[in-house]
């Protein structure tokens, strides 16, 4: 029997609220107006760390803080004994672009001989995941996904598969994305851009029960489909996820989506049209958080879990490829 996967901790760093302020902020959030990026405000990473850091990219700050919030809520304390059975998987489209830019600008100005090794080591896309692994003694299965708008959904899928395969007891999974000038230039997204992170503590239902953990949600199934003309992949993945979850589409009470641009948002409504009741509106994460690309799937999941019921959470990228999750709050 396939082990059931539950969520026992949620850490959200968003423009509408951080940590305990996330759900109240979500309830009162209004769609952004204008093109101004939606930044996370009132955030200081020191509030979430027991150690002092010489330097952190904002992406690493988000990863460390969101993981900290999730671990604390789950009551999972860093532990040398069990570290090989605890892993982490995070997703991001752009990684630490701000530090990459600082490093490369200085390199071009001063030459290779004076390149800054500290900035360089903090510029990798997997730096935030690695730092979180060190900080919280997560030495088990480990991955950073950089698959654009699918990144955090891919990370969540990896974590679910890892737990079901018995390769870990606890997985921290989610994603992060931060605002940066290069990202603004690169983005194919419609404004406004956004930033944020969400990390989840995933474990099997049995493991959570044994340690008496409170359950905040369940991931019932995940399915993925590759590039396709407009919404066909989404239709395929959503149907597969619902079938795997053994959930009748009529049971769906909410649909959340994450996508890089409004062009794709249109596909999402069309892709789900035949599957879920039309009375269920498809809510777009970017209409609340701004477009958060790699973090979008994780933020959509956090939003979906704020309401009771069974939700379909879909992420679609610029090629039409998608990942769909069926989740229960």
């Amino acid at each position: 029997m396939t082990p059931r996967i539950v969520i026992t901790g949620i850490g959200a760093i968003t423009a509408v609220g951080i940590g305990d302020a996330f759900i109240p902020g979500l309830a009162t959030a209004s769609p952004p107006t204008g093109a101004e990026p939606l930044a996370v405000s009132d955030f200081a990473v020191e509030d979430y760390l027991d150690t002092t850091k010489t330097y952190l990219d904002r992406a690493s700050e988000f990863a460390l803080a969101s993981a900290n919030l999730a671990l604390k809520q789950a009551g999972v304390v860093p532990d040398a004994e069990t570290r090989w059975r605890r892993g982490i998987a995070l997703g991001t489209a752009y990684g630490c672009l701000d530090t990459m830019e600082k490093f490369t600008e200085a390199l071009h100005a001063k030459g290779a001989r004076l390149a800054n090794p500290l900035l360089f080591s903090h510029s990798y896309a997997n730096t935030p995941t690695g730092l979180a692994a060190i900080e919280y003694q997560l030495a088990g299965p480990h991955a950073t996904f950089c698959s654009g708008a699918l990144a955090s959904a891919d990370a969540l899928a990896f974590a679910v598969d890892t737990l079901r395969a018995g390769r870990a007891d606890v997985m921290v999974a989610g994603g992060f994305e931060v605002l940066s000038e290069p990202r603004r230039q690169a983005s194919e997204e419609q404004p406004p851009l956004g930033e944020g992170a969400a990390a989840f503590i995933l474990e099997t239902a049995d493991h959570a029960e044994k340690r008496g953990a409170r359950v905040y949600g369940r991931i019932l199934a995940i399915a993925a489909a590759g590039p396709s003309a407009v919404w066909k992949a989404l239709e395929r993945a959503a149907a597969e996820a619902l079938a795997l979850a053994r959930v009748d589409p009529k049971q769906i009470t909410a649909a959340w989506s994450a996508s890089p641009c409004r062009r794709v948002e249109g596909w999402q409504r069309a892709g789900l049209a035949h599957l879920i009741p039309t009375a269920i509106p498809v809510r777009h994460a970017c209409a609340i958080f701004g477009s958060t690309e790699g973090a979008g799937g994780a933020l959509a999941l956090a939003a979906a879990l704020a309401q009771p019921g069974v939700a379909l959470v879909s992420s679609v990228d610029r090629t039409g490829a998608c990942v769909c999750m069926v989740v229960g709050a």
Binding site: W84, G87, A93, Y94, G95, E101, F103, T104, E105, L107, H108, G111, A112, R113, A115, P117, L119, F120, S121, H122, Y124, A125, N126, T127, T129, G130, L131, A133, I134, Q137, L138, A139, G140, P141, H142, A143, T144, F145, C146, S147, G148, L150, D161, A165, R167, P182, Q185, A186, E188, A223, A224, A225, G226, P227, S228, A233, D317, R318, T319, A321
Partner: protein
Amino acid sequence: MPDRRIAITGVGVICCLGANASEVWEALRAGRSGIGPITKFDPTGLRNTEAGEVPVGRGCLSPPACLPLAAGSGDPALQPEDDATRFALVAATEAMASAGIDLNTCDPTRVGLVCSTNFGGATSWDAFVSAQAQGESATALLRRFRFDDAGDEIASRLGLQGPKTVISNSCSSGAHAIGHGADLIRLGRADAVLAGGHDALALSALAGLSALRTITAEKCRPFDLNRSGTIFGEGAGMVVLEEMTAARRRGAPILGELLGYAVNNNAYHMTAPDKDGAGLTMALRVALADAGVSPNRIDYISAHGTGTSYHDVAETRAIKAVLGDHAYRLPVSSIKPATGHLMAAAGAVEAITCLWAMRDGIVPPTLNYDTPDPDCDLDYVPNHAREASVRVAVSISSGIGGNNVALVLGKGDA
């Protein structure tokens, strides 16, 4: 994880030693190195002005000389602009062709893709920052830098419509991509997966690695007493994975089998290895358990073998911790002095090297090995390829951030 056997039915490689798999293997078994002067950018200030560059004209750097044989790629004007994406496309096209998968006769929605990269389109990134400094708009350059650029190009040009993702686990990425691709098949999410890694040499990447003193000022000599760092290279390695029974049913070439894998993290330090090799030890143990292979069945280890002072010791300790006395009875080699450290492509190309070793009964050498190190006391196949019967091989990869991956590979003939 469902117990499905995973066949490897296609491979594609491009690096400084050649623009296809057979060229690269021929050079490796001949003990040739492709390391030479860096020509694609000014290397002034780097600790070493040599690297493993893909020769111009071989990596589609001079279109249309070697256009990928992919659908929709017939127009030279449609060549990918970034080196890393080109390399990935060349290797992907070769791998799919060698597997003999015809997407016109199978369901393309069941063929997935797992790419991996450390630096994305790094040459485009460098060009972007330069252009920006001069006040020029360079939005297109930045789009080419995206980590998912190569994957999207491959999926689009080859017509893959199955699950698609990109892993960036630093220099263990290519190996992890192969393990993850196998999992997608084991879980029934795809019938076949194209998986591997790619990266290109770029000033920003090499300057950073040079500043970290990962790069040697002289030759890369893994496991040698006088080792002082690695030399980087560029390229791509891709494999086609399929469920074994289905692959045999369609008459696919069985180049080998992925028996098991593991991925973990040292959770120790961002740039320094755990000197005891605890993370590597655990990765090896878990991979062997996943494969159901006892340590004494391993016939060859393709080591990560960077030539950096601490890593080579940590890797040697891990091998000895898991294999015991058997560690002294099998060949362990690193191809990095020949190819350069291929970053995200390294793990994939080294896994492919294991397949060739099993097929031909030849293990590639560790070049530039002169002086034994008491702390690295295994048989590293110094300087010359050697005949060896290899039925089970292990490929080890590690990376910045503390990532480790071990792949256990078999001949796939049982």
